[in-house]
């Protein structure tokens, strides 16, 4: 009896497990091992040429000023983009949840579109929007007499431009999540609060926000994971420039690993990134579980 059960478990989980092992678990441990070797271009076809070098990659990484720059840029993006995305998508969700809002489905689709659009296409369009001389954004600013900055060409403005793009792209998805959260809040809570004389603001603050907590935890956790892996947007729009002001950790990893073929060094970056994401996510979940 127990035996047949086990067989069925294997039949159902087996294929998924094999795929998971092959494409996720084994590569993770392989890259952990690689991070302790000097795997480079000469070892690509003959793995025996990679030597074990202990912690040398990590020591070098901590002395690498571009790595610190990339670390700074990535956290810059996370710290600005995360709250902005939460506020904007919550706002959009609340507005969409109102009974009086017209064209709800139209707005839902419009907000969601950027999320499902190919980043390559988005990058091309945005590079035009952000163009300093012909761009739509600077034309719009000029209507108010403001001379817009050279968005992607100025080291101070390049990262804010990237953040604008990633937030714009992420808001739609998170709006849908918040909307689902909002619709799960039972109406009687609001009715009771209304009877007790709570203002709309109080209802939002004392009912909506606390009831949305599970959604908020999920959304922010996913954002930590997502924004720390910032790659496509700077890769397409700026290639990390100007002056490496948009160089993200993953972009640096890509460069080291797949442009310079220093897969050992790149793996050590991946390990550091993995540790950072894991610890921040755990921290976030712990904070959520405490209260």
């Amino acid at each position: 009896m127990v035996r047949t059960k086990f067989q069925w478990i294997v039949v159902f989980i087996g294929p998924a497990l094999i795929l998971l092992m092959l494409f996720l678990i084994i590569p993770i441990f392989a890259s952990l091992y690689l991070s302790f070797t000097d795997f480079n271009v000469f070892a690509m076809t003959d793995w025996s040429r990679a030597r074990f070098v202990g912690f040398r990659n990590f020591v070098e990484l901590f002395k690498d000023d571009l790595f610190w720059k990339a670390l700074f840029n990535t956290f810059y993006c996370l710290i600005v983009a995360m709250p902005t995305t939460v506020v904007l998508s919550l706002l959009a969700a609340v507005l969409l949840n109102r009974e009086r809002t017209l064209f709800k489905n139209f707005f839902k689709v419009s907000f969601f579109l950027p999320f499902v659009t190919n980043t390559v296409a988005i990058a091309v369009v945005w590079s035009w929007l952000l163009n300093p001389t012909y761009g739509l954004l600077n034309w719009f600013l000029s209507l108010f007499g403001i001379k817009g900055p050279n968005w992607l060409g100025d080291p101070r403005w390049a990262m804010p431009s990237i953040i604008m793009l990633v937030v714009w792209k992420a808001v739609g998805y998170n709006t849908i999540l918040f909307l689902a959260g909002l619709q799960n809040i039972p109406d009687f809570l609001y009715e009771a609060a209304k009877l007790d004389g709570a203002t709309p603001w109080q209802r939002f603050w004392y009912i909506t926000l606390p009831m949305l907590k599970p959604t908020t935890v999920f959304v922010t956790t996913m954002m930590i994971i997502g924004y720390l892996q910032l790659f496509e947007e700077p890769y397409m729009l700026t290639q990390g420039g100007p002056l490496n002001s948009t160089l993200s950790i993953v972009l640096y990893l890509y460069r080291q690993g797949f442009r310079f073929f220093k897969l050992g060094y790149a793996s050590s970056i991946a390990v550091i990134l993995f540790l950072m994401i894991a610890s921040l996510t755990l921290l976030r979940l712990k904070l959520a579980g405490r209260d």
């Binding site: 420039g241 797949f258 442009r259």
Partner: protein
């Protein structure tokens, strides 16, 4: 039922016959891949029983495709290989060494331009055969230059700078020339260093980027940005060229037909010229080579195809198909090329053109050059300080 079985058997036997012919697999990129069938059909007519399969790979995906192909050892018989990719992929040890093939063939070093042949030589071996070359020259608007008093292209560094000053003085959002300032532009910057007499390594392999010649090139390059003669975060190259906002840029032969296609309104109002002279007028030579992978089971056939593509008449035909520059010197004497004023400039420039050092670390060095020159462009460092940092970077990379 029996009928169906019979038909099946027939189909199987017939398809068996078609599999009997030898198949040559080729990876080609971009426009070349789209047009290669012209040559492939001719090759198949000359070699009955041979089937050539061309897999077209877009340039943007080519690098990753080659990398995964090498890692998984899933490679074709031969492939088109960008000259700057020869070293990194060559270092992985997947290219067939061709000295033995050359011994018994009309294909040899003397057929090709020197700068082009340099890209196939590595560690004393020959790992490819040049297919076509590209060399960067100066594209300029004859009418716009005339308006500021230049009835000829700027010939020297001084003239280029002087013309640039006058061009930028035309008004707001008016610039002189387009140069790269971010991303990886080692291959675009190096001609300036070579023109000044600078080099990255000397014969002994010592890093020489702090030489005054190299530093001067950095300063000359960056000055175009300091004085707003070259745009930062600019628009579309074609539009700016057509409107006259940016009337000079440096690029390769593919631009000739692209300008005609994208901006036909300026036909007859632009021309090409040699690079400006400091000590020399050296330019960058690139292009593509043919390589045979050592995993191939059809190496003899692959070599036959390379020989076919190297024949002068086929080089000429290929030039007529996509107007890429022939790597074989003798082809340049055909009237199709020698009577064409634009091609004449390219032919002249090819005699003074270099390729970057053929080492697998070049990509990383090009990155370091770009980073340091960029710091000078944005005035974070002096040219001297940037060159000193670059020296340390390169020493660390090649150590």
């Amino acid at each position: 039922m029996r009928k169906i079985t019979l038909v099946f058997l027939l189909i199987i036997t017939l398809s068996g016959f078609s599999f009997a012919e030898r198949v040559l697999q080729i990876w080609a990129m971009g426009e070349e891949a789209k047009n290669l069938n012209v040559m492939v059909e001719k090759f198949m007519r000359e070699n009955p029983g041979v089937k050539v399969e061309v897999q077209a790979i877009p340039w943007s995906a080519a690098y990753d495709k080659l990398l995964t192909g090498i890692a998984g050892m899933q490679l074709p018989d031969l492939a088109q290989m960008g000259t700057t990719w020869m070293a990194p992929f060559g270092a992985m040890g997947v290219f067939e060494e061709l000295s033995d093939y050359i011994k018994n063939s009309f294909v040899n070093k003397d057929l090709f331009f020197e700068g082009s042949w340099q890209t196939v030589e590595m560690n004393g071996g020959i790992y490819g055969i040049p297919w076509y070359v590209d060399v960067r020259v100066m594209f300029y608007r004859t009418d716009v230059l005339k308006d500021v008093g230049y009835d000829h292209a700027p010939q020297t560094w001084e003239e280029l700078y002087d013309a640039a000053k006058k061009l930028a003085a035309r008004g707001e959002n008016m610039y002189a020339l387009s140069l790269l300032y971010t991303g990886v532009f080692g291959n675009e910057f190096m001609p300036f260093a070579w023109q000044a007499g600078g080099k990255i390594f000397d014969e002994k392999g010592k890093v020489r980027v702090t030489d005054p010649e190299f530093v001067e090139a950095i300063e000359y390059y960056a000055r175009f940005f300091w004085e707003e003669l070259a745009p930062i975060g600019g628009g579309n190259l074609f539009q700016d060229f057509a409107s006259g906002a940016v009337p000079i840029f440096f690029s390769g032969p593919w631009m000739v037909s692209m300008i005609d296609q994208q901006t036909p309104e300026i036909k007859g109002k632009w021309s090409v010229a040699l690079m400006p002279k400091k000590q020399t007028r050296t330019s960058f030579v690139g292009g593509c080579n043919w390589v045979i992978f050592n995993t191939s089971k059809n190496k003899d056939l692959a070599w036959k195809f390379i020989e076919f593509m190297t024949k002068p008449e086929n080089q000429l035909e290929w030039y007529k198909t996509v107007s890429s520059l022939p790597a074989v010197k003798s082809v340049w004497e055909y009237p199709e090329l020698s009577n064409n004023p634009v091609m004449k400039v390219f032919g002249e420039q090819l005699k003074d053109a270099k390729s970057p050092p053929n080492i697998p670390e070049w990509e990383e060095i090009a990155n370091a050059i770009s980073r340091r020159v960029e710091e000078v462009i944005y005035k974070r460092k002096t040219p001297q300080k940037a060159a000193e940092d670059l020296e340390k970077d390169i020493e660390k990379i090649v150590r």
